[in-house]
Symmetry: C2
Subunit: 234 residues, 2 copies
């Protein structure tokens, strides 16, 4: 008997850090460009611009997709790293690295197992085009790609979490958010979604493992997406 597995219809996944390894993928591409910078620090700086950029969009109330925000941040980071000489074509190419992020080793198999029993979808601040190309590159078997772009709101706005339930005409409690970030899960919980934390200690690189301590408020705590499949009886 698995009460939680019986009540859930849809598992929505955070993507950056939870399903894919943005730090490893971005720093590897930056390293390959031989820009003479620390790829690890470059990746961290780029990602550090992410939350403030989305917060600004939400404050202004005018929708801008993440590809565009990534590009604005990239231009700033290149300047901060004294790389103003990087050409437009290279910037465009590098900006699309977020479409080419590699999944964590357990992601594709874990999702394929969960897909047999549940609807699995993304719920990411990445735009639909970005998430589609990423899934195609990495063979991520989504039943459906849902994005902040569907709701013209970035997480943690409630419209995103509640939007998953509305899309499938189910109750919020029939949706589980799976994420490697307690703050995302906490926002989902306020909207009455169930929550599963996924441990990704190396999200910010192997040099600086992050805490993956459980928060008791989460419904489930999994060491990987494969472990989540175990916990959900798949």
């Amino acid at each position: 008997m698995n009460e939680i597995a019986d009540s859930i219809k849809v598992i929505a996944f955070d993507v950056f850090g939870t399903v894919v390894d943005w730090h490893g993928s971005v720093s590897r591409e930056v390293a390959a460009m031989n820009l003479g910078v620390d790829p690890d620090q470059f990746a961290l700086a780029w990602r550090a611009g992410y939350k403030p950029a989305m917060a600004e969009v939400m404050e202004r109330g005018e929708w801008v997709i993440l590809d565009e925000l990534h590009r604005r941040i990239l231009d700033k980071v290149l300047h901060d790293f004294a790389l103003d000489s990087v050409a437009e074509a290279e910037r465009q190419q590098l900006n699309l690295v977020w479409h080419r992020l590699d999944p964590w080793p357990d992601s594709v198999e874990g999702l394929a197992r969960l897909k047999k029993k549940f609807v699995i979808c993304s719920l990411s601040n990445g735009n639909i085009g970005l998430l589609t190309e990423m899934a195609k590159n990495a063979a991520i078997p989504w039943d459906c790609i849902l994005s902040a772009e569907n709701f013209n709101k970035y997480k943690p706005h409630p419209d995103t979490y509640l939007g998953v339930a509305r899309t499938f005409a189910i109750e919020p409690a029939q949706v589980m958010l799976a994420a490697a970030h307690h703050s995302d899960l906490e926002s989902a919980r306020k909207c009455r979604l169930e929550t599963a934390y996924i441990e990704r200690p190396f999200e910010y690189g192997r040099a600086e493992p992050k805490s993956v301590a459980p928060w008791p408020a989460n419904t489930l705590h999994a060491t990987s997406i494969l472990h989540l499949a175990d916990l959900m009886g798949c």
Copy 2:
């Protein structure tokens, strides 16, 4: 050399009638309910309410998803067929038949072949939840589900066709719409998309085959989605 295949990045598919056999699936479920009506006529009547219902939504400017429109039409059709006695639970169940439509025999294999070379997505007036469940039931291998619901506009509004190009940050001419309806293709062409007609002579049932004569304005004319894969070099 295949110039058209080289220029196209995304193939967007109309769904009802093009990828799935709505008439066969709906009339089979209606027949199984033993309502004492002609299942063929019932299916045709239900579908006949589709265009006027969407036109009304577009005129009023207040978004209503197709599941809800299907339900309103169903209630009217049940009344017209003197079936007011059909209970609420049965109506709810029957309304979801649109989530359970069977693909035409060539659809899944044809799409799987096209997917190797192109991004393949839906561009349907069906809502996202409907299209997701349909794809899951029928193993339709979309890279991405796009719906009128993404744009809050029903086809043939230009925002839907142009929305595909915008979603993937490409030119309209890099998108091909594949559909079994010349009117849909004509509207796409006005937005500068390329077009592929798919022959579905039995869309309205075997009793009344529809004309599948080519229109010279279409970029391609295919007898099936497998044939489209041939034409696109997949």
